[in-house]
C-alpha cells in the first residue's frame, strides 16, 4: 500500500501543475484588458490610469511563461484577482460563500450515498422481481431528468403551490436572528449554528430552505449510485465465495451484508471521484435555481456578467477540492481492498 500511496502523491504535483497550466491557458485566450482583472485586488488600483500603462505595469505583454510565473505567484498566495460581480476579491467572495455550499453538499451527499447504496443492494437482492423493476425505471427517469428542470418543478410545486420550501438560504426573520449580537457563528453552517445556539427557529428555517436543493441533487445522483451499486452487487452475488458462505450455513442476511456488500462497494468507491465531479456541477445549477447564495450561484453569476477572474477562481478552487477528494478516495480504496493494501 505504501508504494501505491507514494505513487499517488508523486503524481499530485503534476496534476496541480497541469491544472494551473490549463486554467492559465484559458486566461491567455482573453485579451490583455480582460486579463487585467485577474491581477488586481481593488478596482481603485485602476482609477485614473491609462490602460496601456496598466498593461505594461502588470506585464500583460510579456512572454507567457513570465506571465505564468507572476500569476502562479498570486495563486499560491490565494490571490485570484478582483471579482467584478461580487464587488470584492475573488478569494474573499469564495470563502464567504463556502459554508453555504458545504452545508448543502454535506446534507445532499449523505442521503445520496446512503440511500443509493441501500436501494442498489436491495434492488440486486430482489433481482428481476417487481421491486427491482420499479427501482430501475425510477432511477432511469431520475438519471435522465435535467437538474435545472427538476429544480424548477420542485420550486413550482413545493413553493409556488404548497408554500413549503422557499428559495434562498434563510427567511428574513431567521436571518435577523443570525445577524443579532447574541448569535455566535461557530461554523457558518446555519443548521449547526442554530443547534449550537439553541435557536430552533433558525434550524427549522435553514432546513426548510435546504430541502428543495437537496431533493433536486439527490434525485439525480441517487440514481447514479444506485445503478452502480446494483450492477456491482449483482456481479458479486454470483461470485464463488458467496456460494462458499452459503455452504457454510451463513444466514442470507449476513451473506448479503457481510460477504457481498463489502466486495460490491469496492467499485462503487472508485466512482466517487467522477460523482463528486458531477455533484459540484449540480451544485452550481441547484444554487442558481433556488437562489441559494453559495459558490455555485456565484460562479453562474460571474459567468453571466463576464466576470472572468470570478469564474476562473471558482474553477481553480473547485479543482483543488476535487483533487483532494480524489486523493482521499484513492487512499480509502486501498484501505477497503486488501489486495491493493498488501501489494
Amino acid at each position: 500500500m505504501i508504494n501505491y500511496i507514494i505513487r499517488r502523491f508523486l503524481i499530485l504535483p503534476f496534476i496541480l501543475f497541469g491544472v494551473t497550466i490549463l486554467v492559465f491557458s484559458m486566461i491567455m485566450m482573453l485579451g490583455p484588458y480582460q486579463r487585467l482583472s485577474t491581477y488586481i485586488n481593488d478596482p481603485a488600483q485602476l482609477k485614473g490610469q491609462d490602460m496601456d500603462k496598466l498593461i505594461s505595469k502588470y506585464g500583460l505583454d510579456d512572454p507567457w511563461y513570465e506571465q505564468y510565473s507572476r500569476w502562479i505567484g498570486g495563486v499560491v498566495h490565494g490571490d485570484f484577482g478582483w471579482s467584478e460581480s461580487a464587488g470584492q476579491p475573488v478569494t474573499e467572495a469564495i470563502f464567504s460563500r463556502f459554508p453555504a455550499t458545504l452545508e448543502l453538499a454535506l446534507f445532499a451527499v449523505i442521503p445520496v450515498v446512503m440511500g443509493g447504496i441501500w436501494l442498489g443492494v436491495l434492488s440486486a437482492v430482489h433481482h428481476n422481481q417487481k421491486f427491482d423493476h420499479i427501482i430501475r425505471i425510477i432511477s432511469t427517469i431520475g438519471w435522465s431528468f435535467p437538474t435545472f428542470v427538476f429544480g424548477l418543478l420542485v420550486l413550482m410545486i413545493f413553493y409556488g403551490v404548497l408554500g413549503w420550501f422557499p428559495p434562498g438560504r434563510l427567511s428574513a426573520d431567521a436571518a435577523a436572528i443570525i445577524r443579532s449580537a447574541e448569535f455566535v457563528r461557530y461554523t457558518g453552517l446555519n443548521v449547526l449554528d442554530g443547534i449550537l445556539n439553541l435557536e430552533i427557529n433558525v434550524v427549522f428555517d435553514a432546513f426548510r430552505h435546504l430541502i428543495g436543493p437537496i431533493v433536486t441533487l439527490a434525485i439525480v445522483w441517487w440514481s447514479y449510485i444506485l445503478r452502480i451499486t446494483r450492477s456491482s452487487m449483482l456481479e458479486t452475488l454470483r461470485k464463488d465465495y458467496i456460494r462458499t458462505a452459503r455452504a457454510k450455513g451463513v444466514a442470507e442476511k449476513f451473506v448479503i451484508n457481510k460477504h457481498a456488500r463489502r466486495n460490491a462497494l469496492i467499485p462503487v468507491v472508485t466512482v466517487a471521484g467522477p460523482m463528486v465531479l458531477g455533484l459540484l456541477g449540480g451544485v452550481v445549477i441547484v444554487e442558481s435555481v433556488f437562489g441559494y447564495r453559495g459558490i455555485g450561484q456565484y460562479a453562474a453569476q460571474a459567468a453571466q456578467q463576464l466576470d472572468y477572474s470570478g469564474i476562473l477562481g471558482v474553477a481553480m478552487y473547485f479543482s483543488f477540492l476535487l483533487i483532494l477528494i480524489n486523493l482521499i478516495v484513492d487512499v480509502s480504496y486501498a484501505v477497503i481492498d486488501p489486495r491493493i493494501r498488501l501489494e
Binding site: 461470485k239 462458499t244 455452504a247 457454510k248 450455513g249 442470507e252
Partner: protein, 343 residues
C-alpha cells in the same frame, strides 16, 4: 451393504426453468452414501453431477432452479422438506462442501482465519478466541505451514493449493459427517492434485466422515472412491463399487470413458473416443439418452428409456443392451472408433 445409509437420495429431480425451456439437469437420480465411505460421481460437464450436490445442500439458485421431486434423506430426515433455517444448521456443520475454484471460492476482503472462525462460531457456539485457536489447529491439520501466521493472511497471499487446503480446513472445522467435494482438484497442478487427494484420504480416515467426490476424472475416482455412480444427461447410468466398475464396465458410456484415457499398466496401442457430445438438456432424445452417441443403440433404445437394473450383486446398469456389450468385450473387440496411437 448392511449398514444404515448416511444419505439416501431417491428419485431426485432438479429442474431449471429458463426462457428457452425447462432444463432437466437432474432427472430422477438415486444413490446412497454410507458412513465413512467415498462415493465418486463421474460424468462429463453438464451431466448434472454438480447440481445433485447443490441439491443436497439446497443451494440450487432459485429461481430458475427448483427441486421438483424426490427425497434426500440425511440420517432419517428429508432435507427437501426442511425450512431454510433448519437447513442452515446442517450446512457447514453436518454436511460441508468444497468447490472447484480455490482462487475464487474464498472472500478476498476477509482473512482466511476470519472465514474459518465464522464457520466455527456459527455452529459450535464457542467464543471467538477459542474459535481462532481451533482455526489454527485446523490449518495445521490440513498441512499449512506456520498456521499462526497464515491465519491472518488474505486469500490472495496464498497459492491455489494452499487455498484449497484452507477450504478443506474450513469445511472440516465443524466435524461434518459428509464432505461434498465438487471437482476439488480440477483447477490445480497435477502434483498439487495428488497432494490434495492424499490429504482428503487421510482426513477421511481420521475424521471418519463420508465423502461425495464429484469429478470428470476417472483417475481421481480410482484414487479415492469406494463406490461410483456414473452420470449421463441427468441420470445415473451405472452404479457399483469401484473395482467392479474398472474391471467390468457394463454401460457403453462407461466403457467409452475408460478407453478414452491412456493407461500405463496396459499395453494398448489405440485409444477409443465417444463420438459427438452430450445432447442439449433442452432437447434430450426419446428413449435412452445416450442413443445419439451409442454405437450399440438399436430398436428399443430409440423408443423406451431403460431402467437402472441390478445385473448381478448390486452392479446397477441403465442399458438395454449391456449383455451385447459383454459379448463384444469377450471377443476383445472395440465398439468406438480409434482416436489415435498411444506410444
Amino acid at each position: 451393504m448392511s449398514k444404515e445409509a448416511l444419505v439416501e437420495v431417491k428419485n431426485l429431480k432438479t429442474y431449471f426453468y429458463t426462457e428457452e425451456g425447462v432444463v432437466k439437469a437432474v432427472d430422477g437420480v438415486d444413490y446412497e452414501i454410507y458412513p465413512g465411505e467415498t462415493l465418486g460421481i463421474v460424468g462429463e460437464s453438464g451431466c448434472g453431477k454438480s447440481v445433485t450436490s447443490l441439491s443436497i445442500m439446497r443451494l440450487v439458485e432459485s429461481p430458475p432452479g427448483r427441486i421438483e421431486a424426490g427425497e434426500i434423506n440425511f440420517k432419517g430426515t428429508d432435507l427437501t422438506k426442511l425450512s431454510e433455517k433448519e437447513m442452515r444448521k446442517i450446512r457447514g456443520n453436518d454436511i460441508s462442501m468444497i468447490f472447484q475454484e480455490p482462487m475464487t471460492s474464498l472472500n478476498p476482503v476477509y482473512t482466511v482465519g476470519d472465514q474459518i472462525i465464522e464457520a466455527i462460531t456459527l455452529h459450535k457456539g464457542v467464543k471467538r478466541k477459542e474459535a481462532r485457536r481451533q482455526a489454527i489447529e485446523m490449518l495445521q491439520k490440513v498441512g499449512i505451514p506456520l498456521p499462526e501466521q497464515r491465519v491472518d493472511e488474505y486469500p490472495h497471499q496464498l497459492s491455489g493449493g494452499m487455498r484449497q487446503r484452507v477450504m478443506i480446513a474450513m469445511a472440516l472445522s465443524c466435524d461434518p459427517q459428509l464432505l461434498i467435494a465438487d471437482e476439488p482438484t480440477t483447477a490445480l497442478d497435477v502434483t498439487i492434485q495428488a497432494q490434495i487427494l492424499e490429504l482428503m484420504n487421510s482426513l477421511k480416515e481420521s475424521y471418519g466422515m463420508a465423502i461425495m467426490m464429484i469429478t470428470h476424472d476417472l483417475g481421481v475416482i480410482a484414487e479415492v472412491s469406494d463406490r461410483v455412480a456414473v452420470m449421463y444427461a441427468g441420470k445415473v447410468v451405472e452404479y457399483t463399487d469401484v473395482d467392479t466398475l474398472f474391471d467390468d464396465p457394463k454401460h457403453p458410456y462407461t466403457w467409452g470413458l475408460m478407453n478414452s484415457i491412456p493407461k500405463l499398466d496396459k499395453d494398448v496401442d489405440r485409444l477409443e473416443a465417444i463420438p459427438g457430445s452430450v445432447p442439449s438438456p433442452l432437447n434430450f432424445p426419446e428413449g435412452c439418452k445416450f442413443n445419439t452417441r451409442c454405437p450399440l443403440a438399436k430398436g428399443k433404445c430409440y423408443d423406451v428409456e431403460p431402467p437402472l437394473e441390478d445385473t448381478d450383486g448390486g452392479h446397477m446398469v441403465r442399458c438395454w443392451r449391456y449383455e451385447h456389450l459383454e459379448e463384444i468385450k469377450k471377443r476383445g473387440e472395440r465398439i468406438y472408433e480409434d482416436r489415435g496411437v498411444q506410444k
